[in-house]
């Protein structure tokens, strides 16, 4: 969760902060696992407060001072609780599912489900995999495997994927958690991965867009698009990176539907897509395909800025 989500996959500052506090030595992960197990037995969201005690004191969060545009830790935590989990706080300050429940959960569009329990279960399993809990050889390893987090949007319903793998010829491995979510209120996606804006959230609000903030890079483009700004690092030498590989631009196009035998990019075909009622000849009845997208121009390799959902080359926030 950064300044919005202009791409389909995101790490961004909040998940990077989570990663930073989730990972560590064995004692740290065991303590976090204990917090998840307690929360599970209490059926509470307490892990979000106690799972990593220093998480919400991270200096990357805003101070709340005038002029500090960064969201505060409390604001971000409340957003997770209300927007993601659909929870509400009672008079005693205890968080739980909204009563009576809304038709849809949190700020997800067209979806109702127990996002909190999905996330809690996934994170607990990720911690067990990272620790090798129950393994004959790994449960005594001093260093747990690192855990990394991603958010993928959209999907029809919420899922979390916990993906683990050993790194060959080492004692280590990697646990990756993909939080796969429906779309959410106000969501958009940029038709191009290329950044033209210095900030992911343009002044005056509006939808998030790709930005040239830290550590954006369009592979192969030199010098850096911001005059005077040096390239952060040789791309292959980055310690952290997310790269999106796709067409430089995407446009809606139209063509005649299946079964007609004709295809094209003409205005008449697009009209058929935009006005499915007709007029048509008898028996000329086809299934609307909604918008059809065409990838245009060359294939580009882009590292989104952290503010737009990417990650800084050194993993810092």
């Amino acid at each position: 969760m950064g300044d919005g989500m202009p791409y389909h996959l995101e790490k961004g500052p909040l998940l990077r902060i989570f990663e930073g506090h989730l990972n560590g030595d064995r004692a740290k992960l065991e303590a976090a696992l204990g917090a998840f197990e307690t929360a599970e037995s209490d059926d509470s969201v307490e892990w979000l407060f106690a799972g990593s005690p220093e998480l919400w004191n991270d200096p990357a969060f805003g101070t709340g001072d005038p002029g500090d545009r960064r969201p505060t830790a409390d604001q971000m935590r409340r957003r997770v609780l209300t927007e993601w989990f659909g929870y509400e706080e009672d008079a005693a300050g205890k968080w739980g599912p909204k009563q009576p429940p809304d038709p849809t959960t949190g700020y997800w569009i067209g979806y109702r489900g127990d996002v909190h329990r999905i996330v809690r279960t996934a994170m607990k399993w990720a911690l067990k995999l990272a620790l090798g809990t129950g393994s004959d050889d790994r449960s005594r390893q001093p260093q747990p495997w690192p855990i990394e987090l991603f958010w993928k949007c959209p999907a029809p319903w919420f899922e979390a994927w916990v993906v683990s793998r050993r790194v060959p010829r080492t004692d280590m491995g990697l646990v990756t958690v993909f939080l796969v979510s429906p779309s959410h209120e106000g969501a958009s996606v940029a038709e191009s991965p290329i950044a033209h804006s210095p900030v992911a959230t343009p002044p005056g609000g509006g939808h998030p867009i790709p930005s040239t903030e830290d550590d954006y890079e369009l592979l192969g483009e030199h010098p850096h698009p911001i005059p005077g700004r040096p390239r952060v690092k040789n791309p292959v030498d980055r310690d952290f990176a997310t790269w999106v590989v796709t067409h430089k631009q995407h446009r809606i196009f139209g063509h005649v539907g299946r079964g007609t035998g004709a295809r094209g990019n003409g205005a008449a075909e697009l009209d058929r897509e935009n006005y499915t009622a007709g007029p048509r000849e008898l028996s000329d009845l086809t299934i609307p395909q909604l918008a059809r997208w065409e990838g245009r121009d060359e294939i580009v390799v882009v590292a989104p800025s952290m503010a737009a959902g990417g990650v800084k080359h050194d993993g810092k926030v």
Binding site: P6, I109, G110, C153, P154, P156, P182, S183, A187, S188, V189, A190, E191, S192, P193, I194, A195, H196, S197, P202, G204, G206, H207, I209, P210, H250, I252, R258, T276, A277, G278, P279, R280, E281, L282, S283, L285, I287, P288, Q289, L290, A291, W293
Partner: protein, 175 residues
Amino acid sequence: MPEEPERTPAPWELDFPPEEVEFVRSRLDDPAELIARLRREGDFAIELARADTRPILVSWFRQMGIERREGGWSHDPERTGPIGPSAVGVEWNWVGKHDENDKEGRTFNDIAPSGRSVTVHGFTLMGAEDGRFMVRRYIDWAGLFAQLGLSLNWRTPVASEPPDRDATEDEEPGA
């Protein structure tokens, strides 16, 4: 004289009373008489609206009764009849199941058969447009997609440029 190649009948022709096919075909380019008859004879209009849509629907969804409703194509007489000075409308629905079609093996948009029951709601407007007989079918596609469990992704595609730059690019030259 070489023989004329045999014409492949359009799907509607195969679902329409054979003795009336030529009457309709011969008037598609000059439809005044056809439209007058459709407006005058309700059953004729219903038959044509049915023939226009049913062969396609049956290739998408198996005709099957659901929840005590009879499967197949039916019309609503309360919302069927002449419209305006020169058109006729038929409200109809199709009841079936999103199952593999046993004849052709086809299904709706070639998506995997879900076994879900579907009711397709539609309204067919028949009339003349630019001198030719044409139909306008107002079909509740969103309702049909929802019955099949299909969903929109609800992420608005937007330009990657800041909004002020969008406005500049969208302006007409010389505006």
